[in-house]
């Protein structure tokens, strides 16, 4: 008999009908009486001092109701809070990010915002605002930023470091050194040492729905904000802090969200919308355009890596070194700490040394992008491992079988792994039909790579209300980004042993639900699922107590199954769940509300192995991904269909990252801020992505569930790069691996292989 009745099943999405009928209300569906439309004036320059802003003409345009600039910002009482989880940003910089103060630091940096009675009037008003700039040379990339004479973005910036603080300010925001074991000794013991360098590009999450919100500020200063962010309480605390409004005076209402991938944790237009509504005394709505989204929200960080790995002849790794530089855009806070953790995560390596740098440049400030920092570093490390395996003469899979990490081994940050599934995913590769089906012929190759993501846990809360008809309602402020309502329904049904259709799920606003962290960091099903589990158990315990009273037995003597309570001692003594539920609104101890909350679960690490088959057109360099399999440890897949969907989405984004997506900058200006020239893969560019779910239960939390949302994006570029190598003999060490890049690499290799003409004779 299966262990669970409702878990591990592809139940229908709770919100499936409203989605397919178009009834689901997204941010752009908000319409309020008297609502104004907001638009943002943005800097055309990547780096400039704002000398003066004159918006007098704009205010005179009929229909314009308010204009705001940084002069309208309230003063702050306590500075230095920080936000945003894995790629966090501090309060001062978040304020400067959403509205430039004295300086613009990237093309598209907001300078002023206008609220008007129509969008067209707001747009016209922007043209009437005069800004006087002193244009400065842009700092175009991390290397240029680190040069001694580079222009400074922030004249006050000194690196965060445990080492010695430099004498002068610079563009380096963080310096990270770390060593575990003795790397020098480890390399000395190695028989083979390889060193490779890599470069990856700035990419965007490209959620389909642009940032959108509406704000209504009441006469007493209370704010209602409708927004499509990944976390309503995160929005509440950010806005409270940067706009100096009491937290309890801001009610954040979640709308359906059209994708986030880490890019909708930090607020952008929300603060401007509130400031405009405060000034205009009317509700204001703001919708970003795609161009604005590309230029002025938070893309994923580009990285530069040098990796060195040594191994014995028998294939055992002895030491590894990584130097990484992350370009974090206009303000400090890049993915270096997370990237260092991901780097050698799948391996058991006795000594590891890490040098990391986060550097500021005149680009939009980076944010989290699905396993933030994971994909670039994994591409670099896994590619290096493949070079090493090649040198040692072992195939990449065998090499990994010799070196994988297991429970009790150290992570790069000196913590030990709890139960993990690296071996389980590798074993599945060995037995998979993909790995065992030959992929031969000219210009064809197969690659594989491992991926790791640590996953977050955090604080979560949920309520389970028992209604008088015996049905249950799960209530929380957990934004449903990835099917949370559906897994919540499954958990409640499982614990209360009631049919799915008797369980309703409601996502409420910050005024009416208990605090819960946002939906990010692979934490939702793991941590929030734990809160739902606890709330369900609490509701059941309370129901048992009420049944005990009615049955006149001790609560511990009450048994429950499938809608029926009975006495352990006298099974004939029984009362139905519905009867007990009905009685709660009229007598006894009253209504039942199950409460569940959780903080500080341990990690539930995610591991994956992915296999890619490619075919390369040697004359154009175009790479066709013909087959792809992702094998992932989900701990327990509460809803396998949703898990598969998550993994397919992550792999698709990883393929885009690896092959076609990048920010194309020219003198600090973005030249491809549109879907035409920022090339996400279309459905025709990815093959069917086969999923194999492996279930190694996590050490903590109910059911052994692990987060599944992020790791799938980590290894696709590495797996594809290896496949390209097997197909063509060229190693691609730079992302994206565009057709042009692949073609030139092939041509360079062919030239090197041309026999040198003998002199005269023959």
């Amino acid at each position: 008999m299966p262990k669970y009745k409702y878990l591990g099943k592809a139940t229908q999405k709770v919100d499936a009908l409203e989605r397919v009928t178009g009834k689901a209300a997204f941010g752009a569906d908000i319409h309020l009486p008297g609502m104004l439309h907001g638009k943002v004036l943005r800097s055309p320059h990547p780096h400039a001092i704002i000398k003066a802003i004159d918006y007098g003409m704009a205010l005179k345009l009929e229909g314009v109701k308010a204009v705001v600039t940084s002069k309208d910002l309230p003063s702050l009482e306590d500075a230095r809070a920080s936000f945003g989880g894995e790629v966090s940003i501090d309060q001062e910089h978040l304020r400067k990010l959403f509205l430039a103060h004295d300086k613009v630091l990237f093309e598209g940096h907001p300078i002023a915002a206008v609220a008007a009675t129509s969008l067209e009037i707001a747009e016209q008003a922007l043209e009437l605002i005069k800004v006087e700039y002193e244009v400065l040379p842009p700092v175009e990339d991390a290397f240029k930023a680190m040069q001694p004479n580079a222009p400074l973005l922030h004249p006050y910036l000194y690196p965060k470091t445990l080492g010695q603080k430099p004498k002068n300010p610079g563009n380096v925001a963080t310096i990270m050194f770390h060593e575990r074991g003795d790397a020098e000794k480890g390399f000395a013991e190695a028989d083979v040492v390889v060193e490779e360098s890599f470069e990856t590009a700035m990419v965007h999450q490209v959620y389909i729905e642009p940032q959108v919100d509406a704000a209504q500020v009441e006469e007493d200063g209370k704010v209602t904000l409708w927004t499509a962010n990944q976390g309503i309480f995160n929005v509440q605390s950010q806005l409270s802090s940067i706009l100096n409004i009491p937290l309890g005076s801001i009610n954040v209402v979640p709308m359906e969200i059209g994708g986030g991938f880490g890019g909708k944790i930090i607020t952008y237009v929300e603060s401007l919308t509130i400031m405009l509504s405060q000034k205009a005394g009317r509700p204001v709505k703001m919708v970003m355009s795609r161009e604005e989204v590309f230029k002025a929200t938070g893309p994923g960080s580009p990285g530069y890596f040098t990796i060195k790995v040594g191994a014995k002849k028998n294939g055992k790794i002895t030491a590894a070194y990584i130097k990484m530089i992350h370009d974090c855009g206009a303000f400090p806070g890049g993915p270096t700490p997370m990237a260092s953790l991901v780097s050698f995560g799948p391996y058991n390596i006795p000594s590891i040394k890490v040098d990391g740098y986060d550097v500021v440049t005149n680009k939009p400030r980076v944010q989290a992008y699905r396993a933030p920092g994971g994909t670039p570093v994994n591409f670099s490390v896994e590619s290096t491992m493949n070079v090493l395996a090649d040198k040692l003469g072992v195939d990449p899979l065998k090499f990994r079988m010799q070196n994988y990490a297991k429970e009790g081994d150290y992570m790069v940050n000196d913590q030990r792994y709890n139960r993990i599934g690296v071996k389980a995913v590798l074993d599945r590769v060995v037995s998979s039909s993909h790995w065992n089906t030959p992929w031969e012929g000219p210009n064809r190759g197969r690659g594989m790579a491992l991926g790791f993501w640590i996953g977050a846990a955090g604080t979560s809360s949920a309520l389970v209300l028992i209604n008088s008809d015996g049905s249950a309602t799960g209530v929380s402020g957990q934004v449903d980004l990835t099917g949370t309502r559906t897994s919540t329904q499954q958990i409640i049904a499982e614990e209360l042993q009631m049919p799915l259709e008797k369980v309703n799920v409601k996502v409420g606003d910050t005024d009416s639900t208990p605090y819960t962290m946002g939906s990010f960091g692979s934490r939702t099903t793991y941590s929030f699922g734990t809160a739902v589990y606890r709330a369900s158990r609490d509701a059941l315990a309370q129901m048992k107590a009420r049944a005990a009273t009615q049955l006149k037995v001790n609560p511990e003597d009450v048994e429950y199954a499938e809608g029926r309570f009975w006495s352990k001692k006298d099974p004939e003594k029984a009362v139905s769940w519905n009867e007990v539920a009905r009685s709660t609104i009229t007598r006894g101890e009253g209504v039942v509300t199950g409460r569940g909350t959780v903080t500080g679960l341990g990690h539930a690490p995610e591991f994956t192995a992915q296999i890619a088959d490619v075919e390369v057109d040697p004359e154009t360099g175009k790479v066709y991904v013909k087959r792809f399999t992702a094998i992932q440890d989900a701990g327990l897949a509460i809803n396998p269909m949703q898990v598969e969907g998550q993994i397919q989405g992550g792999v698709t984004q990883g393929i885009g990252w690896g092959m076609s997506e990048y920010y194309y900058y020219d003198k600090g200006k973005l030249r491809n801020a549109s879907f035409l020239d920022y090339r996400m893969p279309t459905s025709l560019d990815v093959p069917m992505i086969d999923i194999e779910i492996v279930e190694v239960p996590a050490s903590e939390g109910p059911y052994g569930v692990r987060g599944v949302g992020e790791v799938s994006i980590v290894p696709p570029p590495a797996a594809i790069a290896e496949a390209i190598y097997r197909a063509t003999g060229v190693r691609m060490n730079k992302l994206p691996m565009t057709p042009e890049a692949v073609l030139w690499a092939i041509k360079t290799k062919d030239k090197e292989r041309e026999p040198v003409a003998a002199n005269g004779d023959s």
């Binding site: 067209e120 154009t620 175009k622 030249r671 491809n672 090339r679 025709l684 057709p739 042009e740």
Partner: protein, 290 residues
């Protein structure tokens, strides 16, 4: 986006009246897949957007002794599904089926594609190798231009402010001829050519000598261009592997590309070479199969 006046004339006379308005900056709208985006982005700020799809002549699709008549408002889907196009103008059918995506092809047509005058327009090289003529009309009358004279530069065509495109006429293809179009895009759909090549060859069935060769390139110059050096390599000869390779090399002479996000100068030239070879090979295959 600036507000504009919208007009939907039901006849050419009505359209000419609108075009004659002195103060008006009229843009004709067929599928609108380029224009709407341009207006949205503020790249074009017309005072009148005039939908021409309600004018019967604009939807014309016919094949007669004069050749193929394509009304300026005919959609790509209608065009490539028109049997005479499938049969006689393979290159035109192929390029119409490449514009944008299936959804876009249901709206967009060849008329709009050429009026937009993007150097990358997929249908332009095919029309050039097929010797197409454009019919331009306005309050002052009609005129006909060879398609090669229609493109003046990126976004610029040979029509005056008060003229609109009525349609395109493509002469019947010569006997024993074949044409093909190939373009290169990094993706499989929803993309713009990094380079595109159309080739048309006429082969004497007995001697196998190439009587005529026409090769035209997209996306590698400010306008679509003929690759005359490559054509000269082939004409008067029996086309073989070596000549195809040479034609590929010579086609590069006509390419004056730029480096941008879609590709570098060198890459585009390389693609011209490869695509020229591949289209010529396909033409020979088609003729061999007939």
């Amino acid at each position: 986006m600036r507000l504009f006046e919208f007009a939907a004339p039901k006849s050419l006379e009505e359209a000419y009246k609108i075009l004659s308005r002195a103060d008006a900056d009229v843009r004709a709208l067929a599928g609108g897949t380029d224009l709407i985006d341009q207006v949205h982005q503020g790249r074009r700020k017309p005072s009148i957007v005039m939908d021409i799809k309600g004018i019967p002549e604009m939807k014309r699709l016919a094949f007669d002794r004069e050749g193929l008549h394509i009304g300026a408002g005919a959609s790509c889907t209608d065009i490539y599904n028109f049997p005479p196009v499938k049969k006689n103008y393979i290159s035109i059918a192929e390029s119409a089926a490449l514009v944008g995506s299936v959804q876009i092809q249901n709206r967009a047509g060849i008329g709009g594609n050429i009026c937009n005058a993007a150097p990358s327009a997929d249908t332009a090289p095919s029309l050039i190798v097929h010797n197409a003529r454009v019919v331009i009309a306005g309050p002052k009358g009609q005129r006909v231009l060879p398609i090669e004279q229609f493109f003046l530069g990126p976004g610029q065509n040979a029509m005056a402010k008060d003229e609109i495109l009525l349609g395109i006429v493509v002469p019947p293809p010569p006997a024993s001829s074949a044409s093909h179009y190939l373009r290169f895009i990094p993706r499989e759909e929803m993309d713009i050519a990094v380079a595109g090549v159309a080739s048309m060859v006429v082969i004497d069935p007995k001697s196998k000598v190439c009587k005529t060769a026409r090769i035209a390139l997209a996306s590698v110059a400010p306008t679509p261009v003929r690759a005359k050096d490559a054509e000269a390599v082939l004409e008067g000869h029996v086309i073989n592997e070596a000549l195809i390779r040479e034609a590929g090399e010579k086609a590069i002479n006509a390419a004056k590309p730029i480096t941008d996000v879609r590709g570098s100068i060198e890459y585009r030239k390389e693609l011209v070479k490869v695509l020229t070879r591949r289209t010529l090979t396909k033409c020979l295959e088609t003729l061999g199969n007939r």
